[in-house]
Structure formats: structure tokens, C-alpha cells
Amino acid sequence: MSINRRGFFKVLGVTGAALAIGREVKAAPAGNGEIDFRGILYDSARCKGCHGCEYDCADANGLPVPEPVKDDLIVRSTGETRRTVVNGYNTSKGKVFIKIQCMHCNEPACASACLTQAMHKTKAGPVIWRGEKCMGCRYCMVSCPFDMPKFEYHSANPKIQKCDMCYNRLKTGEAPACATNCPNEALFYGTRRQLIAEARKRIVENPKLYADYLYGEHEAGGTCWMYLSPVNFRELGLKNIQKASYPALTKGFLYSVPSIFVLLPAFLLGIHQATKKENQTIEEDES
């Protein structure tokens, strides 16, 4: 079968377009492993459950003042009016607290899910939400393994609420509000490398106090928030999730797109040419 000029150009055009798309796709996942993001180490062994960080967070982010917590053991979750909560759990080592908020993954599922890059992993480390780009599709919520982005369902101009590690404070050199004011120094702010070193030090210096595990070091490909705890993290309601990054789950599919865009039209065009000769009568036939 000989290919005519027109067909040739068509295939050429499709190939070119596909290559252009393909390059973009491959170029995008930057080597996040090399950047030393900022993050926070939370130490459950130090936290006394004063809930002060919840008030600091609300104050720093213009959220309503949190209601007083009557019973620590009732598990609350973050929501559209609170970006962080501290819950208490009855564990094998007594009552232990845990603060939950966005984990600020190194390779965030939400940011890779976002079709407008409204969810954005900053170079500094925080994952931020940019309202002027967001469509409100909530795919970030579907994708986040920690269920952290929250949506204002009862607003005509809804926003996504989640911890942004006080990105605006970070830009002026300040630490996140919660980490600044913790009376028990349960929150340690620094670069990820510093956090990991500090966590290791604490475990080594006090092996009886801590469970030998740093939650967030590898979870979801590594997160900027990390947890030290006296008990197994499962006793504190933290999810046992995969160690690999979540965006990697869609990579295979996304990488197949350029090849399908090249091969399939060429293949279809080929069949079209091959079947044409015998059936000249089809009326919509182009030539």
C-alpha cells in the first residue's frame, strides 16, 4: 500500500502533535527528591493536648474561633472551618494525642490530580491552593490519600480549605503559626533533613519512650509533616498507606497517551487506505 501525500502529512502532523504533548508530560514531574522542603515534626510524646495550635491556626488563617473541646477522645476531623485538629486516643501507653492537618507530600496526589495546577507544591515545601485557578472539581479530594482538602459545600463561591503551612508567614521568614506557639515544643519546624535527623536523635536518646518509626518519612513517597509517637501509628488513627508516591500510579497511563496518539491514527489511516479500493461507493469517502 502506498501512502499518498495528504495521508503522509496527516500522519506527520499527528506525530508532531503527539511528540509535543509527550515531551510536556515527561518534563513535568520534577526531581522532588533533591529539594530539601521545609516541614514540621510533630512529637506525640510531648503534646499535652492543649489544643492551642487549633486556636493559633484559626487566628492566623481567618477561620472562626474553634469551639472548646469537651471530650478529647471523640475523634474529630478537619473541615471547611478548621484546618487542623488535635485528637486524643486511649492507647497501650495511655492517652496519646495526635495533631492532624495536610501532610504536604513531597509528590502530592492533589497537585498532580489538579487540572489547573490550583493545588501547587511550592519549592519551600507547602502545598498551597490557588483560588483564581480552581474549578472546584474536587478531584484533589478524590485523590488525596489523607482526605485533607475540604470543600465549602454550602457556599456559592466555595473554597478548598486545608493547611497551607502558613505559606504567607513562611515567605516573610516566619515559622507556621502552630509551630511558633506550642507550649510543649511538640512541633519542630525545619527542613526535612533536619526533621529526620532530629527524629532519629530523639528515638536513639530515648528508645523506651518512642516507637522506632517516623511516620511520613516514606509514606506516600515522603511527606513534609512527620510524626513521632510512643505507640504504633495505627493506634492513633493514622492510615497505613503505600510508601510509593501517588502520582506514580497514573504515570503508566499518562505515558501511554503520546504513543497511542502516534500509533492509533496511523493504524486507522492505514486500515482506511487498505479497505478503500474495494469499496469506492461509500459516499462520505474523502477522495
Binding site: K10, I21, E24, A28, P29, G79, E80, A109, S112, A113, C114, L115, T116, E132, K133, C134, M135, G136, C137, R138, M141, V142, S143, P145, D147, K150, F151, E152, Y153, H154, S155, A156, P158, K239, I241, Q242, P247, L249, T250, F253, L254, V257, I260, F261, L264, P265, L268, L269, I271, H272, T275, K276, E278, N279, T281, I282, E283, E284, D285, E286
Partner: protein
Amino acid sequence: MNQTKSKIFTPFNIISVPVILVGLVLIVIRFWKGIGAVTNLTQEIPWGLWIGFDVVTGVAFAGGAYVVTFMVYILKMKQYQSIVRVTVLNGFLAYVFYAGALLLDLGRPWNVINPIIGNNFGVNSVLFLVAWHFLLYMIAQLIEFSPAIAEWLGARKIHKVLSGMTVAAVIFGITLSTLHQSGLGALYLMAKEKIHPLWYNEFIPVMFFVSSIFAGLSMVIFEGSITHRVFASQISSKDHHAQNPIVMGLSKICAGTMFAYFFLQVLVFIHEKHWGLLNTPMGYWYLLEMIGFVLLPMALFFYSYRRNNILLIRTAAILTMLGIILNRLNVTVIGFRWDATAHYIPSWMEVVVTLTVIFTEIWIFRWVINRMPVLRSSPEWAKH
């Protein structure tokens, strides 16, 4: 043409008009008070009926257009020529209305243009790919259908130009369909721990693509059995007689692809070693889907094709469609956070809005059929 307008109080009109009116009120409330005012969506389950049924299931049913255009324009299976236009019209309207339904579900719909104009291009996102493909595929389908519009308007010169673009649009359309049918499944790849393991696997995109073939063709069979009754006056006796062989042929393709699909499902099931999950409520639900709505209709398609039984084929088509609804909802709604304490059940308002979308689409479909040569044959001048 006029006899079709004679009756106003048909059962369809009597049901659809009040539903559409209520639906329009609900849509106003939704934009006024927010999505939470009409839906039961939660922070844990952010996508419900509007995405899981309207978009994900609806697009699977619209898959008939790319399969039939592939058969007719690429493989030159001329015997299916008479169903091309109605299938493409159906597909096109389905996409327009499901993309429209998507707008209702967007919290900030005024930003819907952002991924198109580059604010920003989220090229790492599966949804970015799906959004672009929806847009491009709608254009491709419009081009495929446009000769019918030109014939209606009597625009001869434009008709010639548009007809010349058909094959290019078809090739482009098939490629786009392959990618976004599977892409709708790929959307859920990152929800790894959230979807019940019987429905989550890395092959969701392949499953969605393969099942869209028989989902679309079952829709074509189902839609054909209705249009041939409702619009009988428009269909030439030649096309009317051609319909049964077409349905027979489609049932054969359905049976074949369903076999491939079932085989894939079994492979994945064995590979993932899910035997222990079978003896649970979700396991029974899974078996019902696989046996009752895949294996059974597949066998029916095979059997009724051999027996030349049109009625049984239609039954099989309806069972298949129910199976597709079940499958898509199992991935997107029922199996999604199946372990959550608060389950999501759509509100009556979500259901009414969904029905509004479907009924409005049927109204437009009827409007077009009554005017343009879709089921009718083209005017003489358009036939060369």
C-alpha cells in the same frame, strides 16, 4: 414531518416536563446556595451521582459512536451505514449534556476555561487529559454530524466541504475516545485505598475502555428499538428491514467483547488473589455484577444471535446496560469509601437533576430527528 408534532400529551411529555421544571428550580438553588444545598456529598465522598452516573456511566453509553464510525468509515462495513448518523447524534448530545452536567458539579464553574487557556495547563493530571478530550471529541462529533445539518439547511457547498472532513474527524474521534474512555477509569487510579479491592486494580483504564465498546453498542441496540417505533414514519422500508441484521451483527460484537472483558476480569481477580473477599457482602455484590450482568447477557447475546431472536438480544442489551451502570457506580460511588462510617446515598434532588439532564437531552434529540435527515434518507442532491 408534521405528523410528529400532532400529539402534545404523550406519556413522555407528561412525565418529562414537570421533572425538567423542578430540575431547573433545583439548579437555581444549587448555584445560589452551593452544591451542599441539593446534594448529599461529603468531605470524604466528594463525587457522587452527578459524576458517577451522569459523566462516567453516560460517557460509556456514548461509546457507540466511535465503535460504529470505526466499523463504517474505517472497516467499510457498509451494512451499518444507516445507523451512523443517529448514533453519532446520540453520542454528540450525550457528551454535550454530560459536560453540561459536569458544570453543575463544579464548585467554581466560572474557572472552567482555565485548563483550556493555560491558567494553568495541569499536564500531569488525568482530568486535564479527559477535559481536553471531551472538548476535542465534541468538536470531532459535530464535524461528523455536520453534513446532516447542512442538508437540513440546504447548504450544498458547505455540505461538500464538511463531508470531506468526515474521515479525518472519525480517525481523530476514535483516538480521542480510546484515550478518554480509559481515562475516565484512570481518574480513579490514585484513589488506591479508597476503592474496594474487588474493583480497584491497575487495569481500571483497560476495563473501562473494553466495556465502553459493548456498553455503547448495547445503547445503540436499545436506542434503535425505541427510535424505530417512535419515529417509524421517518424510516424508509429499506432501512427498516436492514435493522434486524444490524442488531444481529452488533450482538455478535457485544458477545465477543464481553467475553474478552470477562476474561480480563477473571485474570485480574486471580492475579490479585481476592478469593477471601468473595464470601463477604461486597463479594456477593461483585459476583452479582460479574455473573448476572456480564456473563448472563454475554451468553444471551451468543444464544440469541444463533437463534435469530431479536427480542432476546434486546433483553441482553438492557441487562448489559444495567451491568455497566452497576460497574461504573461500584467503582465511583458504591465501592468508593465502602468502609466509610457515613455512606453516601444521593438525595432526591440529585436524582431529579440527573433526570432533568437526560430528559432535556431526549427533547433535543427528538427536535433534531424531526428536522434533520438523521433517520430519514438524505435529500437527492446530497447523495452525489
